[in-house]
């Protein structure tokens, strides 16, 4: 059996264009809404989607994504639902790269090998595990290789002497944390961001994507020259939160999804 070329690698073959990467939480506020929003994000210009698996103790996340997790957990959404949603998106013909975001404990309980096998089975391309630094990711990387999945490494402004090692080990793309702290919108970005991103680029051959705290078209535009992709999470999740009630109502959900699509389109088009 030959493993097909990973969609993330295919996406970044051409690095002349910047890629827009939105994050949403699976099951916020319902699994059906996530399915509709995912399609809307692609129509709005996203080429890689980051799908968050809800978790009870999301310690790298700010209040916005915590609330999204809570809404999804109240619906009983689990890691299994997230994997199956990926399968459903693929069956509907979605070609964008799909990356799941999960804290390590749900993966550990699901079974590390089984998790990566199912990522491949349902059609995901990668996974971000924010509490699994390179010192601890051996088991996950081994399983990921076996099934042709990328474990996306993160690198932070405080990584300092670790940047080189992380850059050398990175596969898929390297997730650059643009600011200290948890996820969430910020008024301004770090002054030394360009310098940090420059050092990261010099350490690795894989593409880079920047996230954490990026929420406006202006910020997207500002970071674009220093990276291959821009990740926006909390700002989109906030927009979803504004429409939670409509999204839950089958008669109004279509209209709400359209509004989210318009919002994301503004962010995505700031990139080129």
């Amino acid at each position: 059996m030959t493993v097909a070329v990973n969609r993330i690698d295919r996406l970044f073959e051409d690095r002349s264009r910047k890629r827009f990467i939105p994050f949403i939480t699976v099951g916020d506020p319902t699994l059906e809404a996530t399915y509709q929003i995912a399609h809307a994000l692609v129509e709005a210009g996203a080429e890689l989607l980051e799908l968050g698996i809800p978790y009870s103790d999301p310690l790298a996340d700010g209040p916005t994504i915590q609330r999204a997790s809570q809404r999804a957990l109240e619906n009983g959404v689990s890691i299994t639902d997230a994997l199956q949603l990926v399968g459903r998106l693929r069956e509907s013909g979605m070609e964008a790269s799909l990356v799941l975001f999960s804290y390590f404990n749900p993966v550990l309980q699901y079974g590390v090998d089984r998790f990566f096998a199912d990522l491949a089975k349902f059609g995901a391309d990668g996974v971000v595990i924010p509490d699994l630094p390179i010192e601890e990711n051996g088991l996950a990387v081994e399983a990921a290789k076996k099934y042709g999945i990328h474990v996306i490494s993160l690198v932070a402004p405080t990584s300092e002497s670790r940047i080189q090692t992380i850059g050398e080990q990175a596969t898929g793309f390297l997730y650059c944390v643009s600011s200290l702290g948890v996820t969430g919108a910020r008024a301004s970005l770090r002054e030394d961001l360009a310098d940090f991103l420059g050092r990261v680029k010099a350490s690795t051959t894989v593409p880079t994507a920047v996230g954490f705290g990026i929420s406006t078209p202006e910020q997207v535009k500002a970071v674009a020259p220093h990276t291959d992709g821009v990740i926006v999470g909390s700002a989109i999740v906030l927009e979803i939160e504004r429409h939670v009630e409509q999204l839950k109502d089958p008669n109004q959900s279509k209209e709400a999804v359209e509004k989210i699509k318009t919002f994301v389109h503004q962010l995505a088009s700031a990139l080129q």
Binding site: S56, S78, P133, L154, T158, G181
Partner: protein, 408 residues
């Protein structure tokens, strides 16, 4: 001389693992801070001036060594082993927590940090951190669950009086677990200028190791004191386990003494057959919480479950990774006692010894109430009395009055 065989491996190893447990499961943003902390701790503990300053504070400020008290009337009442109490309740601020807060506070100062943060459940670690901050001239923020702020209003007032800012955690169960999440989130955002003083043997490496090293003075003193008083080691040592810092501090110096039985006591809350308990080692499964792989109360999907105990200091769904290791290798026996048994133990100790124990410590007393009568009169039982009950008197009063109400 007979060689110890049970636990000869050096733990934690260089990756911060106690067997399979422990490690550093944290966001990348914190990794550099943990590496720096490891190096600073290693350097400080080799530095005579640092050790001297810590020892000086422990003796002239904290009040160490704490006594080992023969509990004569409790021994008579229970009719079995001779019972001794290690009096951590007599530390300044009223609990063993100060040993560690002083150590980490000095370390923070040595690393040039001006601010410390801490998380607290019952408030004893918060009070200890606020005290140390005042003593060493550091600013201090304490994260505390909203529910615990309600249960421990006296300690909240003490922290504020000592100059600390108390920040309520309003997510989840609004207890220690959520306070710890908030403290970690704050630390991720302010890691360059802030030192996080973790209050128990939990969290990512090197914290479980550092806290053990600062708390092992409890067991070292106990061991020397009992040898001096009786010329022999105890037969059994009992301590309560939430995160498990007083228990590790007490147990660690006895690990190689094979003849000494060690028992850790968790909170069974309303009972291990209910879903209202905090018996992590008895009923949990290995998982990751707050940066460490350890036993964890969780559902089938790996979502962390809420813990329950009458004692705000014990209702934590995780436990220190070294305890997980000691459970699996069999060196320590872990049991649990209910809220009701702990309340009963409070009254027994008050009546027989004139000591009001903290509700945490009452769990260790309650286990001793069960164990001592099964032991012979020439056997020695030591209980770690981790803290005093001043902070808990309102909770105890409420519980006892509603118990009486229930009988009507």
């Amino acid at each position: 001389m007979k060689e110890a065989t049970t636990t000869t491996r050096i733990v934690p190893d260089e990756k911060g693992r106690f067997g399979v447990f422990g490690g550093k499961f944290v966001p990348e943003t914190l990794m550099n801070a943990l590496t720096e902390l490891e190096a600073s701790f290693a350097e400080a503990t080799q530095n005579p001036a640092f050790c001297q300053e810590l020892n000086h504070l422990l003796s002239e400020y904290a009040g160490r060594p704490t006594p080992l008290t023969y509990a004569e009337r409790l021994t008579e009442e229970l009719g079995g082993a001779r019972i001794y109490l290690k009096r951590e309740d007599l530390n300044h601020t009223g609990a063993h927590k100060l040993n560690n807060a002083l150590g980490q506070g000095l370390l923070a100062k040595r690393m040039g940090k001006k601010s410390i943060i801490a998380e607290t459940g019952a408030g004893q670690h918060g009070v200890a951190s606020a005290t140390v901050a005042a003593k060493l001239g550091l600013s201090c923020k304490v994260f505390m669950g909203e529910e615990d702020i309600r249960r421990q209003s006296l300690n909240v007032f003490r922290m504020k009086l000592l100059g600390a800012e108390v920040i309520p955690a309003v997510s989840g169960s609004r207890t220690l677990k959520d306070a710890t999440n908030e403290a970690i989130r704050y630390w991720v955002s302010n890691v360059e200028e802030t030192f996080y003083v973790i209050g128990s043997v939990v969290g990512p490496h090197p914290y479980p190791y550092i806290v053990r090293e600062f708390q092992k003075i409890i067991g070292e003193e106990t061991r020397a004191q009992i040898l001096q008083m009786l010329g022999k080691l105890p037969d059994e040592v009992i301590a309560c386990v939430g995160g498990g810092s007083n228990a590790i501090g007490m147990f660690y110096p006895f690990i190689q003494d094979e003849t000494v039985a060690l028992r850790g006591v968790e909170a069974a809350g309303q009972g291990v057959n209910t879903d209202k308990h905090a018996a992590t080692l008895s009923l949990g499964r290995p998982g990751v919480i707050h940066g460490s792989l350890t036993y964890l109360l969780q559902d089938e999907h790996g979502q962390v479950q809420e813990a329950h105990s009458i004692s705000a200091g014990l209702d934590y769904p995780g436990v220190g990774p070294e305890h997980a290791y000691l459970k699996d290798n069999g060196r320590v026996t872990y049991t649990s006692v209910t809220d009701a048994e702990a309340l009963e133990a409070v009254q027994i100790l008050c009546r027989t010894e004139g000591i009001i124990p903290a509700l945490e410590s009452a769990h260790a007393i309650a286990e001793a109430v069960k164990r001592a009568p099964q032991m012979s009169k020439d056997e020695i039982l030591v209980i770690c009395l981790s803290g005093r009950g001043d902070k808990d008197v309102l909770t105890i009063q409420d519980a006892l009055e509603s118990e009486k109400g229930g009988e009507r």
